[in-house]
Symmetry: C2
Subunit: 131 residues, 2 copies
């Protein structure tokens, strides 16, 4: 798994981590009972402060996605996968809808919007195929 942070995404760094961990669990990259990457390890990989990762893990613990195993790491809880899948869908839908709504309110015609989306989707599919 490779992780990536967008510094000026609007979203706080710890929030981006929370999202990515959830997505990784939803996608099966990290399975129930397995360990999430260590605080220091992930911090090194993203070149950010370990405290920031810890902050993200605290929230994931609060949301009952991870549970702490002191001395060992953070373990993905049972039943987390299903919840993450559901959340993934919701988070993505929310972000897409909000972008579409802004586009719509800005006065762009939906037909133009449709072609714009189609173009971008094709570009993504092409990338996907070549990867």
């Amino acid at each position: 798994m490779h992780w990536h942070i967008e510094p000026s995404n609007g979203l706080a760094i710890y929030d981006q981590i929370v999202r990515q961990i959830k997505f990784a669990i939803a996608g099966g990259t990290i399975r129930e009972g397995e360990l999430a990457p260590g605080v220091r390890e992930l911090a090194r990989e993203l070149t950010i402060n370990p405290n920031t990762v810890a902050r993200a893990y605290q929230q994931l613990q609060f949301e009952e996605i991870l549970e702490t195993a002191r001395g060992t790491g953070m373990v993905v809880k049972k039943a987390a996968t299903a919840r993450c899948r559901k959340e993934r869908r919701e988070l993505i839908q929310e972000r897409l809808n909000s972008a579409l709504l802004e586009a719509r309110k800005s006065g762009i015609a939906t037909s133009e919007l449709r072609t714009l989306l189609d173009k971008e989707l094709k570009r993504l599919e092409k990338e996907e195929a070549s990867a």
Copy 2:
């Protein structure tokens, strides 16, 4: 024109104002040579601090969208409309692409993504028709 601020949009309030003013100019709601809403008036309408609006206007002045007319208000500069139209397109495209990219990277199948978008677009069109 009615303005709206999303408190926890990720985007800073002043940034949301900058966007909305640009979109209003792009859409012809405010035309070149006309006045943008006053600092105090807009602040009252959005129930935020006048300084925050002023901050947004400073940026728009820096970007040569507005020019100051002390004692009168902020005037939309000549040639601002075309630039705002271009920027509007870029801003929207950027946000859509970033949402699509996240969706794609999260492991959602593009086919599923496509149906999701289609559903949402239809909903928007329906709203548009009823409005």
